[in-house]
């Protein structure tokens, strides 16, 4: 068995990939994620109605429970839940992935700088990271969302949410990157590189950053789940864009119909749970695969 490893290469990634493949829940999670991505990409083609369309109203089917024609039911306003959920997939995934990408970039950059350079710069950065870590972020997000949508013309919608989430959400990655950078800085391969003439930035980006990728990937994946959940809360409370189909918006509409149209609350919620579950399982699987501490 040990010879096999030698043949196929024992890089952190190939070993991790092999472990990931063997992890049942990780595979389930990945399958779920792939499913949702596929739905998101194919949304315009598979959704029976255009986004935010009231067509079923004209077909006399507003407010109907799930049926063969409308598998997830119809809202009182005529919006078909199944169709909207599909459109919502696209938008929610956009928010989750975009926010995660941006926060990862910011977090890695700031965290690496904070960890590498000693002195005032590092301390201030650490302080800022800790402040962001601690504050009740959701409240500020809601506040920002409300104020900026008041100020800025409509149409920015989702991108505004992405930006706000990114502004507040980079601290977890920055914190980890800072920790890892501090740890790696003291290791011998860095000193070796330095003795060969590498300067600070080269050291930072060619040597340190590639070594911190694994925890970053794990957190970035789990963050996608978190950002989607946050978007859902923001839109549910009415602070999102009322013209963009999101799961949160559906839940918001469902809440006002909660006594009569339970399907508007149940199904979009299930979609959220499933999607977030997928990313969480995948993230956990990545964590187990790349950090083999808990297994022997």
């Amino acid at each position: 068995m040990s010879e096999e490893h030698l043949k196929r290469g024992a890089s952190q990634w190939s070993v991790g990939w092999r472990r990931f493949r063997k992890n049942k829940s990780a595979l389930i999670g990945s399958a779920i994620v792939v499913f949702f991505i596929a739905v998101a990409i194919l949304a315009p083609y598979i959704a029976p109605y255009p986004a935010r369309s009231y067509l079923p109203l004209y077909e006399g089917e507003a407010g109907t429970p799930p049926s063969f024609k409308h598998p997830l039911g119809v809202e009182d306003s005529g919006i078909d839940v199944f169709s909207e959920t599909i459109h919502g997939t696209r938008n929610d995934l956009y928010v989750g992935l975009a926010a995660s990408l941006i926060t990862t970039l910011i977090g890695v950059a700031l965290g690496a700088l904070a960890g590498y350079f000693k002195g005032a710069v590092s301390d201030i950065l650490l302080g800022v990271i800790q402040v962001f870590f601690v504050i009740p972020v959701l409240l500020l997000i809601l506040l920002f969302a409300r104020v900026f949508s008041f100020l800025v013309f409509k149409g920015l919608g989702l991108t505004l949410i992405v930006l706000i989430l990114s502004f507040f959400g980079w601290s977890s990655i920055a914190f980890i990157v800072r920790g890892e950078t501090l740890r790696l800085k003291e290791m011998e391969f860095i000193q070796a590189a330095r003795s060969l003439g590498a300067g600070s930035f080269r050291l930072l980006f060619r040597h340190i950053v590639p070594n911190i990728l694994s925890p970053v990937i794990v957190v970035a994946t789990l963050n996608i789940a978190g950002f989607i959940l946050t978007e859902v809360v923001v839109s549910f409370l009415g602070f999102g864009d009322a013209n963009t189909s999101t799961w949160g918006l559906l839940l918001n509409e469902g809440f006002s119909l909660v006594r009569t149209d339970w399907w508007v609350s149940l199904f979009p919620g299930l979609a959220v749970v499933l999607c977030v579950l997928g990313f969480n399982l995948m993230g956990d699987g990545l964590s187990d695969a790349l950090n083999p501490r808990l297994r022997e």
Partner: protein, 322 residues
Amino acid sequence: MASLIRYIIRRLLFMIPVFLGVAILTYGVGNAAGSPLNLIRVGLRNPNPAVLEALTHYYHLDQPVWQRFLYWLWDLMHGNLGVSISGRPVASQIGPWALSTLELQVLALILSIVIGIPVGVYSSKHQYSKMDYAITTTAIFGYSMPTFWLGIMLVIIFSFNLGLLPGSGAVSVSYYWWGNPLLDQIAHLILPTLVLTYVNLATIVRLVRANMLEVMRQDYILAARASGLSERTVTYRYALRNAVSPVVTIIGLGFGAALGGAPALETTFSWPGLGYAFTQAALTLDIPLVQGITIVITLMVLVAILITDLTYALLDPRVTIG
């Protein structure tokens, strides 16, 4: 002991810039929403210019932003949280709201700790068993779902369909559930507490389980067994003490996150707490109220963090050095 005190002071000092940071952000954004004057003008239609001038003076609007901020901060220190658009002072309204929110959050927190730690330990001792899988799966669902959605589902089932429990409010208006005022309050607490506890539990169980698994592999646990200590002593006194410290920190941060999630949960249950009030205030752009609530919630979070820091230090003395 001395290092413990120094540690607490360090943490307190840390909280000051955090508090300031939140204050700046809150005030800054609120201010960006527009001068209170405009908002009031909108509300009052065509007020008397004398009134406008008095208000300008009151809000120090003839002075630059950063000075206004300092005035606001000064008021804050003296417990004056400003006046909401409705005319009532913010501070007087916050009290009852805060109590309602805390009632729910603290109860759920205690329950989730009391249930979560034993379950997590059990799960770690029976790794790979069917029970362990069931627990872990339930936990993963727990933190994959929006808290408020679970609330909605439970309300639909237990309140609308089965009529067993009240679905909204903290107390009833027209009649008492289950007979008397006390039972009425309890009845109203059940669903929201259940939801919040479940979601908190999910995180705690996972964390305790993961930490216990790691701690139980350590040499000092093997050494403790080698000394003849009973399995129960080894698990609960030697292992758990080590495993629980990181959980404590997470609980502190989690409390902050839970308070942040209060708006959604409280809206779902029409629970008259800070979260509900915040949502309404933000939607109507009642900036002073929004700022006041944010500051109060931030203070709550900081206190929670301080308590957890203290508990952590008591559990794991290594943290008080350096």
